[in-house]
Subunit: 684 residues, 2 copies
């Protein structure tokens, strides 16, 4: 079937995979790590900076607390990774936080987690792209001068890519992620070597600046509060850790074990990079301030509003590699790219979560169907629109956007871990094997500690960030929660309305006879086909119906009808105002009034055309009539299509559309084959 | 059926007319005059000014030519009115220029006229509203300071009114038109009385200005050309004369005679007002210039770009009644209102012409149906969009817009009159009665002179205005012509494709057997109804089909199927990627491959809901499946609707929509009852 025109495409993106084959592309750990970890790893590009930024409020002396805060983040990271390793083993189907909370804590907790995650996906896009732009800007000043426009352009680009359905490949993720990780480790190693072995003095571009503290000599409660706020900001490094727990089915076997190993690997890499950057920042005297324009002092004068505060990672790279060197530029580019990839993961995650929520009827049913392009498109456009709005409102300032972040993450961390504790409790009741019980008790202890710790962090984050912007995220969660509850309520009420009664199920809706009507406007092949099909159906009565819109046309039709000797009676309805719909509807209603127990079957000949503009030229009145007939009880409406030659074009488009791959397919893995029904079996 | 909530509406717009009654509201001459004449009469508000404006190019002395130009316009007006009186008698069905040209000169001439008229409708809106704003601005300066915004606002207002379907009433037209006509005549009479009897010196606000001629001492060919250009502009007074010839069926009997009388009345009124205003303008020394900012001199200095040149009618009114007096304001308001009404006539005429063109398959068929709200809406939005674009491009400057105008009018005048000559020639061949022959020869002479004169004017208009903007109008005509030709070609090719062969008409499309498939997702009332209806139809084979999207759901369905003992086999299709459409399509195709002579009938249970947001929650996959199935040959698709309680809301909306009245109904008159088929008759 391949044509010559397809050749360049084949060369570019490889042979088109048949969708049955998709299931066989499982991820090795080597590829799974970059696929899932671009989000958490990329956050080391901004999280260390945020810590210094908050500490600067109390002046330069407060920077000494940063190793302690880094330590707290490391401990938290280990806790979360350890906890999620339990999730991965307990829910190998890739349940994720929503399923864990839903199953163990009930639908309200589940819906809360889902709302939190949806908000978080939006923020992942906004924060990652803003931060990526800032990192790119440290190498290309133009970008940072047109921050909002560039950020929105990247959002638009990612959106178009995802709407078109880019074929995801592990390699696409692997290269920039590994370049980034290697770059950061190289930087840490080279920095350590220069500092410790060579004894060089490395100076960040801002090393000679002074910081004017917002609050001089902070102490006691205020200092603790500030430290907690710095810690909250550092927790941005933990976002995205839960992604692996959604993606277990995408791993090669043994799935759970491989996923757990990847999780541990990712945690290890993230904390090492996080700590390394913090320590290099201390060693090279990076200076960052929350309000750089007024609080950063160069030669005794504030730097003013034109000063652009580069991210900590690029300042460190400038100190270690030298500003503008090859390695500096490569690292800046890789950082930006990994951050954009992290944003892309949200483009995958958002519709995937939507599909799970649709299954539970919290979102429109059609989102459930995987690979349903239309459904994905709506989700993607919604995500992109919300993220672009935030980027625009917050001027693509990652520091201000991060204030909104993390709330959602820790809501879902906490509820998921509480759910896991319940999970183990339930299983412990039935389990007798002492070895397994021991194992479960150990898991429960880990999850309980995780729940306690992440819950504590959630309280800290809410307390320290609520007025700084976390309320916006909470508002977003409330909106999602409300909408999804309303949708579920609608589905439930419809389900109750249409539920079939138990006894004598189909008796009371069964009409006794059926009367068929074929709508005729002119005598051509589509009409003749509709007549032929209607005759096949052996209705109790059959007649053709035409509306007298134009007397001359009607007369000609009647004459041809007789001349051809068509053995179906032709009924002519009057329409003094050249309407089609109303006379037909009224005629059908009158038939129903005459014999209420008869069903009426209306056959409508339809042209099938290939181009949107042809739709404007055909079928409009048939479509409107069909729409109105559906409101008339006791009527069924049959379209008898007649495929015009041009419909071939549409058929080809549809075939092409089938080859489209939904974004996120690689991360999600194939559908479980385990509990599948044998295909094509008849049940008597 | 009337409800309490309807009471205020009833009081406001009167009892809702049943549409059968609409036919009985025929127009008396007293009402017909304002209904049809607001367009031509309103043009006296700007046409005299345009004449002076063009003459000013040669300096103040050229103003002395204005009576001669007025005379030429009067002669032309009498010619055109006399010619159209022949049309009205020859085509009492309200053919209009399109029908006359189409019937007598062939489809290409007809289509040219139609394109010209369509462009003219757009320009009527643009010119009338711009001029209306300028007249209003002479009383309310704010309006003229925000000319474009106000003009677009009026367009939007008219569009919304026409989209909602305002009930047209003769009175709505009559009051402002008669106030305007009375006001102008009062002004002429009072001006004559003051000037001749009292001997007052009346001075227009611009009387003391001097005019700097663009071309000093123009003579010979250049002067003739300028005079012809002034005449062309004056011809704007003739636009809209043809409207009555479209609207003959709306008149009371004797239709043709009444229409001809109204036409004469209108012509008389228009020329009297036109000449009266020109003479008053001369008497009160009105000064107008094409480029007022530089060419109008006040106290030796150009007035500059801030100067607003008021329309001639308001300058004359200021001189006769006094600036800002009650009568001055009333006349300004009535002038603006009549101009807006003139624009409104285009809102009626555009879709009406569209409906006639649709009948001849130059435009989408559905435009043909009268009172089809959707079709009207498209036409109205297209008209309004084009007019708003022109208003915006030309800064709502009526003088610049008038350069585009008139070309279309005279194209249709000329072709229509040539067509009439052919019409009489054809009838003269068969006519023997000498009295009738004499009458016909007289009519032919009038039409021939009309054709010659309007053709001459067309050449003059084209020659003098082409570079001034007439090329834009011609471009518009070419675009309309091209589009309509393409549409017609498409319809013709489809008609050829689907034309039924003469011998053994329905044999070759007739399948031998039919196989019915009921799509099932869950077992609820809609599914049971679809099953019951499908059973009624006695297909050769019947089976239920479900797609295994979720194994648990499928298992539950199968169990319930067996428990209820439904005696239809249930086939389960596998769908590893949770698609619904593809497996069904492929299954249907496989059935067709197995037995190509069988037809497949697919029953789809559908929910009928009442609100747009509910559509988002239901039926999406069914709709898409239906769309795809129609592309598969040999398949018919039956929707078995299940009306949810909420569908009642939609039914109510539909009922309300039926009461909508298409704009233009009053002008068009009822559909001819003459050649109507008796209702509800069966042809064996």
């Amino acid at each position: 079937m391949s044509k010559l025109t397809d050749v360049p495409k084949r060369i570019l993106i490889g042979r088109a995979l048949r969708s049955d084959k998709l299931g066989e592309t499982l991820l090795s750990k080597r590829i799974a790590l970059p696929v899932f970890a671009s989000d958490p790893l990329s956050s080391v590009a901004y999280a260390p900076g945020e810590v210094l930024l908050v500490l600067s409020v109390a002046g330069l002396s407060a920077y000494h607390f940063s190793p302690w805060i880094a330590l707290a983040v490391v401990v938290l990271m280990f806790t979360v990774v350890a906890s999620y390793r339990q999730n991965v083993h307990a829910y190998p189907s890739g349940g994720g936080d929503y399923e864990v909370a839903n199953t163990n804590l009930g639908p309200k907790a589940g819906l809360t987690v889902a709302s939190a995650l949806l908000v978080d996906y939006v923020l992942t896009v906004a924060v990652s792209i803003s931060s990526g732009i800032e990192n790119l800007g440290s190498a290309i000043p133009f970008v940072v001068e047109h921050k909002v426009a560039c950020a929105v352009a990247v959002i638009v680009l990612l959106t178009l890519m995802n709407l078109r359905g880019v074929k995801e490949s592990g390699t696409l993720f692997a290269i920039p992620t590994y370049v980034f990780v290697t770059g950061v480790f190289l930087m840490i190693a080279w920095g350590a070597y220069r500092g410790i072995v060579l004894g060089d003095t490395m100076k960040a571009p801002t090393a000679d600046f002074e910081i004017k503290p917002e609050h001089q000599g902070l102490a006691g409660f205020a200092l603790v509060f500030l430290l907690l706020r710095a810690f909250s900001s550092g927790c941005a490094a933990l976002t995205g850790v839960e992604a692996i727990s959604n993606g277990v089915p995408a791993f090669r076997k043994p799935k759970s074990k491989n996923a757990a190993t990847t999780l541990a690997l990712m945690g290890g890499l993230a904390v090492t990079m996080f700590c390394g950057i913090i320590f290099l920042a201390m060693a090279t005297d990076v200076r960052m301030a929350e309000k750089p324009a007024q609080d950063l002092i160069r030669d005794g004068v504030p730097v003013g509003p034109d000063y652009v505060q580069d991210p900590v990672i690029s300042q460190v790279a400038a100190a270690v590699f030298g500003d503008g060197t090859f390695l500096f530029v490569v690292l800046a580019a890789a950082t930006a790219l990994v951050l954009f990839l992290a944003a892309n993961t949200a483009y995958n995650g958002f519709p995937l979560l939507g599909s799970i929520l649709a299954q539970d009827r919290y979102l429109p049913r059609q989102l459930h169907t995987r690979g349903d392009r239309l459904a994905f498109s709506n989700g993607i456009v919604l995500l992109a629109g919300a993220a672009a709005l935030l980027v625009w409102l917050y001027g693509a300032d990652s520091t201000r956007l991060i204030q909104l972040y993390i709330v959602g993450v820790f809501v879902s961390f906490t509820l998921s871990q509480i759910g896991m504790v319940r999970h183990w409790n339930r299983h412990l009741k039935d389990e007798q094997d002492p070895a397994k019980r021991r194992h479960m008790i150990r898991s429960r202890a880990i999850n309980a500690f995780g729940a306690f710790f992440t819950g504590l962090v959630l309280v800290v984050v809410l307390a320290t960030k609520f007025t700084h912007g976390a309320w916006v995220a909470l508002l977003g969660m409330v909106i999602f929660y409300g909408t999804m509850t309303a949708i579920r309520r609608h589905y439930d009420s419809v389900a109750a309305e249409i539920a079939a009664a138990e006894e004598r199920p189909d008796e009371y809706v069964r009409p006794s006879r059926v009367r068929s009507i074929v709508l005729v406007s002119r005598l051509h092949k589509p009409t003749l086909r509709a007549l032929a099909y209607a005759k096949l159906m052996h209705a109790n009565e059959l007649e053709a119906l035409t509306v007298n819109v134009d007397p001359a046309d009607t007369k000609a039709l009647k004459e041809e009808w007789e001349r051809r000797g068509i053995n179906v009676p032709l009924k002519i309805l009057d329409s003094p105002y050249r309407e089609v719909t109303r006379p037909v509807i009224e005629y059908v209603k009158s038939l129903r009034r005459e014999s209420p127990r008869d069903a009426v079957s209306v056959y409508i000949p339809e042209y099938v055309v290939g181009h949107w503009y042809e739709h404007l030229l055909h079928n409009q009145s048939a479509l409107r009539l069909k729409g109105r007939l559906l409101f008339t009880p006791g009527v069924m409406v049959t379209s008898v299509p007649y495929q015009l030659r041009s419909s071939e074009a549409a058929r080809k488009r549809a075939r092409k559309r089938q080859e489209w791959n939904a974004p996120g397919a690689v991360r999600r893995g194939p559908v479980e084959k385990g509990h599948k029904e044998p295909a094509g079996r008849n049940t008597p």
